[in-house]
Subunit: 163 residues, 2 copies
């Protein structure tokens, strides 16, 4: 069974050759989603949301011998299953990021930092809704914090603050 | 540009002909993700997470004249752009649900209620990580609550509690 999708637009970021592992809220440069004109009316009401999901096609993934195993950058020597990781090397290379929506101008949605290469094809945009999506009792899975400093380091890393 | 994916497994739910709009935490019946044997090692470490994302192919969507406009079930008479909604009728019909992971037995991942039809193809599974994914300052976008009762109704609806 083959499933076929098509881009609804393109992500624009300053990342031409290297991209961060996760979105960074204070990333320098301009980040925006350029939506194809035919989907423009599909953006009505989106500007009301503080956060949005961006689903994108990880089109610059290189072949990997064992697609099932990931080496997360924050995990040290740890190896985990690809579905227990956010690795871009996945059986179906779909990227999922939550970003802050800054403003919409025409067919451009300006956002906070996005962990994607410039010109990445966009598959979908969905609103991030409080309570429905913000699970306050979520945990950290296999991610281990040796101490409070370690956890603060993780938080700074996620937020993209200098550390 | 065409983007091609393939199922990594199949969702099993009690919903043969009707499915709820959002996952319901107290849904009766058994919900599990059946993963193809070749991806089994990709599940290592996943059992440590309390919540997971399930990305799936909305394969039972019927043709709609104006794909850009949605009529959300909770919105009354309101019409919003498809990207400001969680409607299954989308340019690329990708479903995204956050569910509680109950247990993993072999290639079966048992979860809380899932808003998908039985036999829906799975595209990806990702861990839901506290802080990274739980945006505590998220808002409700265009969703309006007339009063506190209204908001409580929304919460009960999301949680699938009788009301």
């Amino acid at each position: 069974m083959k499933i076929e999708f098509h881009p609804i637009g393109t992500i624009h970021t300053p990342y031409k050759k290297k991209a961060p592992f996760q979105p960074k809220s204070n990333d320098k440069g301009t980040f925006y989603l350029e939506i194809q004109e035919k989907y423009l009316t599909g953006l009505q009401g989106l500007e009301k949301f503080r956060y949005i999901y961006v689903l994108f096609f990880l089109d610059r993934i290189i072949h990997k011998e064992n697609i099932n195993i990931a080496h997360p950058p924050l995990g040290g020597d740890i190896k985990v299953g690809v579905f227990a990781s956010r690795s871009p090397h996945r059986p179906n290379p779909i990227g999922l990021s939550i970003v802050k929506l800054k403003k919409i101008e025409g067919n451009r949605i300006y956002t906070s930092g996005l962990d994607a290469f410039d010109n990445t094809p966009i598959l979908d945009i969905k609103p991030y809704i409080n309570d429905l999506d913000s699970k306050k009792d979520a945990n950290y899975g296999w991610i281990k914090f040796k101490n409070l400093d370690d956890k603060e380091h993780f938080m700074l890393h996620i937020k993209g603050l200098p550390h």
